[in-house]
């Protein structure tokens, strides 16, 4: 069996070689900076399936002294047939020579048989000054492909395309930071077409990568579903001794419980974010959390969140909620009445169960202080009384998932979660709507879900993700 192909990503310094490698290897821990010489040594990034390497990308430092190298090569070559040997001789002779460290690093994989991925920046004007580099690369005799990456906002790719075509077999545009996943796959297939022996390995790799992406979506749906379940059914509990009951007013207790309930929900949402990020191999988004631009007025419980993510009353009605909500509200009132009747002290009902029909605020959970038992009293806050809360969490989670799943690993910019301006859930099919509504209600009532219900809920959330993806696609 032939060995797995290797591709050396080479070019002038600071043209985004590491960004290309970071995106294709889904590694966001590669040092990327707008500073020449960030990459000082070559580094291999193998893609392996079950331990078997399908291909290897090698990130390399940029050319520092191409004219001097070319001068040496020309001086030591007799005819075109000895070009690749001369390059090999150059590397051998200059190992350890401080002036040519970068050239040796980038030429070594090429003399070992790697394919050439030459990266240029298409946002700056074409420059014939790079021709010495391209000539050296041609001397290696390796199959080659040129990538026009765009670091800045200007577009000079057409002139680059024309010029690079003279030196390279294939020229492709690839924006390492913004290219969608389908382009990653198409680029990898193009790598495979450089050499007949490489095609099969690259086809396998793209097949596995697409399958992995589909699996990730399913797993992400499961993660979101679990978080929703946790958050909808969460109840803040506190056990108080008689002294504590005497020393705390109901209002203070309500406030404390409410605060810790909020705190817990925010933390749970953060855990969800990190889980999704890790699923997509974004390990470093979280480390930038301090810089993460959360709109302070779009936090989980703000009015803004509700406006952007909550669903319309019409939606709820079609989700089989309508009458149920009224009776649900009635039921809450009855339960409350019963607990009053049995002598439980009700600290306060914050918000009114029916208010969402008439008001603009989410109905908040109920504070309930239980009966004295074994000299202890139990005060509880939650679970949330309004399914809209679930839709806010779901909307934000799906939005975050979309951003993460579409974020390339070369991206180093802040994750800006701008709220969407339409109710995208309106597009969801009726069955999924009903499943989501029913599950949210069950969670709210702290009823357990069986395996089948859980599975259906996951499927419905996955449908949501698909719907949101379509909506995003058609929005722009």
């Amino acid at each position: 069996m032939s060995t797995a192909p290797t591709f050396a990503v080479v070019g002038h310094p600071n043209k985004g070689k590491s960004s290309v490698v970071a995106t294709l290897s889904q590694n966001d821990a590669i040092a990327i900076a707008l500073e020449p010489g960030t990459t000082r040594a070559r580094q291999a990034y193998p893609l392996s399936v079950d331990g078997k390497t399908l291909y290897t990308l090698v990130d390399t430092p940029g050319f520092q002294r191409p004219r001097r190298v070319l001068e040496w090569l020309e001086a030591h070559s007799v005819s075109a047939s000895d070009h690749s040997e001369t390059v090999r001789a150059f590397v051998l002779q200059h190992q350890g020579d401080g002036r040519f460290t970068d050239e040796c690093e980038l030429l070594t994989p090429l003399i070992e048989g790697a394919g050439i991925i030459y990266v240029v920046d298409g946002s700056v004007p074409y420059s014939a000054e790079h021709e010495a580099e391209m000539t050296i690369l041609r001397w290696t005799g390796q199959p080659s492909l040129a990538l026009i990456n765009s670091i800045g906002s200007d577009d000079h790719s057409a002139t680059w395309q024309a010029a690079l075509g003279q030196f390279f077999q294939v020229v492709r545009n690839f924006d390492a930071v913004r290219a969608p996943f389908e382009q990653h796959l198409s680029l990898l297939r193009a790598f495979g077409q450089l050499e007949p022996d490489w095609e099969q390995a690259l086809d396998q790799a793209t097949h596995h990568l697409s399958a992995q992406r589909q699996r990730r979506k399913t797993l992400a749906a499961g993660i979101v579903a679990n978080a929703l379940k946790d958050m909808m059914s969460f109840q803040e509990k506190r056990t108080l001794t008689l002294d504590q009951v005497a020393g705390t007013s109901d209002n203070t207790l309500a406030e404390q419980l409410r605060q810790s309930w909020y705190q817990h929900q925010r933390q749970r949402e953060q855990t969800l974010r990190v889980e999704i990020e890790h699923l997509y191999q974004h390990q470093r988004v979280r480390r930038q959390e301090a810089e993460l631009e959360w709109h302070s007025d779009h936090d989980l419980f703000s009015e803004g969140s509700r406006e952007h993510w909550a669903v319309s009353k019409r939606y709820l009605a079609t989700a089989g909620f309508g009458a149920g909500a009224v009776s649900g509200a009635g039921l809450d009132a009855i339960t409350l009445g019963t607990s009053l009747g049995t002598g439980a002290l009700v600290g306060g009902l914050i918000g009114a169960a029916g208010s969402y029909f008439y008001g603009d605020k989410l109905t908040l959970p109920v504070l309930n202080i239980g009966l004295l038992r074994d000299g202890l009293k139990t005060a509880t806050f939650g679970p949330v009384q309004d399914s809209q809360f679930g839709y806010v969490v779901l909307g934000r989670a799906v939005d975050h998932w979309w951003h993460i799943s579409h974020r390339n690993h070369a991206g180093r910019e802040l994750l800006d979660l701008e709220p969407a301006d339409q109710h995208w859930l309106e597009r969801l099919d009726k069955k999924s709507r009903q499943t989501i509504q029913r599950t949210l209600d069950k969670c709210r009532k702290q009823q357990p879900l069986d395996e089948n219900q859980r599975h259906n809920f996951h499927l419905a959330i996955e449908q949501c993700m698909t719907g949101y993806e379509d909506w995003r696609l058609n929005r722009t």
Binding site: S25, L47, F63, R65, R67, E129, L209, R215, H278
Partner: protein, 470 residues
């Protein structure tokens, strides 16, 4: 308790709990590798094999199985129930057979007691099937390990088994006590009831109850004459003319009644409880969420896209200590690597005595020639500064560094080079990060020799007069 299914379930559950904290990528690699090994060996990967593999890997001395603790706890509960059952069985039978010679032992009471036993046994089984756990707070108080979701679901069947075992010992101890009492004492059985019933209907009842063993042991199925002869009334005590031996003839019936309707059901339900545990354990294992995840990990290829390498912390030093200097007034301009193509801005071209090119497409020999040309120019004019125009967006490379090193040697002492990075749009200033890379380059190469300046944007030509003079 050597129940493999139960042990496997508990071990699997404990393992799944431990795995909760592990990185998903690690778990995937680990389990996929196991599945591939199984494939090589031609066997299907199952949770049982996986558990054995995990135990094998942790090697000897890894501590007791997680299941051992839970099973030990339930063994103690079972033993406790059996001991208590046996003691209670003995006491209950002694109570039932209490006979001081004055009164008969009422068979009706024993019948009722056996019926109650049967009812209890059936209720225990029904409760385990329904999953009702009235004794759960007690378990929670005495259990050492926190309850997991699996153990909560297992508790009804485990508890039913403990209760049935206790009941079995109760019935067994009762039977032994009965037989011992029959040997040691003369027991006088009779039947009595307040209800208006005749011996005939009572005999019918007794015959129905004795039906299972009547064919096997006819003596244990009382005849009508015995039933008729052994009815007693407490009010009529003392007038009895029945042969005292008749009173004792009930004992085979009582022994068989106890064995068939108390002991045997308990035994059968006890065995069924064992089956129920195994069935429940197999079901819980099959529907365990971790099993689904495990099978998924085993079936899915482990894809590693090359994320091992991490040099994110190895960022270049981007501190800049130098600052921009004003554009020096000089008449020598060098354009590096195509900078200023096709046309230099007027600020840089007007009034210059020498404008030369180096780097880029020029050969190294041409660069050396340029160096000489500049050196001779410097010696001829009082100028000590040279403008080196570069493309601001291109990073400074080793070639420029080499060129400047050679220049420093070739040019007169005290000469200064001002690097002038241009923006790609000539009318604009280059971006800050682009200027900073040149400032850092100047600092590395020697700030006494190299400075960085920018052309003033939209400014009138500064040395128009000088150019005019030239």
């Amino acid at each position: 308790m050597t129940d493999h299914s139960l042990r496997l379930l508990l071990d699997f559950d404990a393992c799944a709990q431990r795995d909760n904290g592990q990185a998903p990528a690690f778990l995937h690699r680990r389990d996929r590798k196991f599945a591939l090994t199984c494939e090589q060996q031609g066997v299907a990967p199952s949770p049982k094999r996986w558990m054995a593999h995990m135990n094998h890997l942790s090697g000897p001395g890894a501590g007791a199985d997680p299941s051992a603790q839970i099973l030990g706890f339930w063994n103690r509960i079972n033993n406790g129930f059996m001991v208590v059952g046996a003691v209670l069985g003995l006491l209950a039978m002694l109570g039932l057979l209490f006979y001081d010679g004055g009164q008969r032992i009422n068979v009706t009471v024993i019948l009722a007691f056996v019926a109650f036993q049967l009812l209890l046994a059936l209720l225990t089984t029904a409760q385990s099937l329904v999953g009702w756990q009235p004794w759960r707070p007690l378990l929670r108080r005495f259990g050492k390990t926190p309850e997991s979701a699996v153990s909560v679901k297992l508790q009804p069947v485990l508890m039913a088994q403990a209760a049935q075992r206790g009941g079995l010992c109760f019935a067994l101890a009762g039977l032994v006590t009965l037989l011992v009492m029959v040997v040691l004492q003369d027991l006088a059985f009779g039947w009595s009831t307040t209800l208006e019933t005749d011996a005939k209907s009572y005999h019918r009842l007794i015959s129905t109850i004795a039906a299972p063993w009547a064919w096997l042991w006819p003596a244990a199925a009382p005849e009508f004459t015995l039933v008729e002869a052994t009815r007693f009334f407490r009010a009529g005590a003392g007038e009895d003319a029945t042969n005292p031996a008749r009173w004792g003839q009930w004992w085979p019936f009582i022994a068989m009644l106890w064995a068939t309707w108390a002991l045997l059901p308990r035994f059968v339900l006890c065995v069924l409880a064992g089956f129920a545990i195994r069935r429940k354990a197999r079901y819980l294992l099959a529907s365990h969420p971790a099993k689904r995840a495990l099978m998924y990990r085993m079936e899915t290829p482990a894809l590693d896209t090359g994320t091992d390498h991490n040099d994110a912390a190895d960022q270049p030093d981007t501190d800049t200590h130098l600052s921009l200097k004003p554009l020096p007034d000089t008449r020598i301009v060098l354009c590096w690597a195509g900078a200023g193509d096709p046309e230099l801005p007027d600020t840089l071209s007007a009034g210059k005595s020498l404008i030369a090119k180096a780097g880029g497409r020029m050969t190294l020999a041409e660069d050396r020639q340029t160096l000489k040309q500049v050196a001779s120019h410097l010696t001829q004019t009082p100028t000590t500064s040279i403008l080196l125009v570069t493309r601001g967006w291109e990073p400074p490379t080793g070639e420029l560094e080499d060129f400047l090193t050679s220049a420093r040697e070739a040019w007169p002492k005290g000469t200064q080079v001002a690097l002038v990075p241009l923006a790609s749009h000539i009318e604009k200033e280059p971006d800050t990060h682009q200027v900073q890379q040149w400032l850092r380059f100047a600092q590395r190469a020697g700030p006494e020799f190299i400075t960085v300046s920018l052309i003033p944007a939209h400014e009138a030509l500064p040395d128009m007069d000088a150019g005019a003079l030239e």
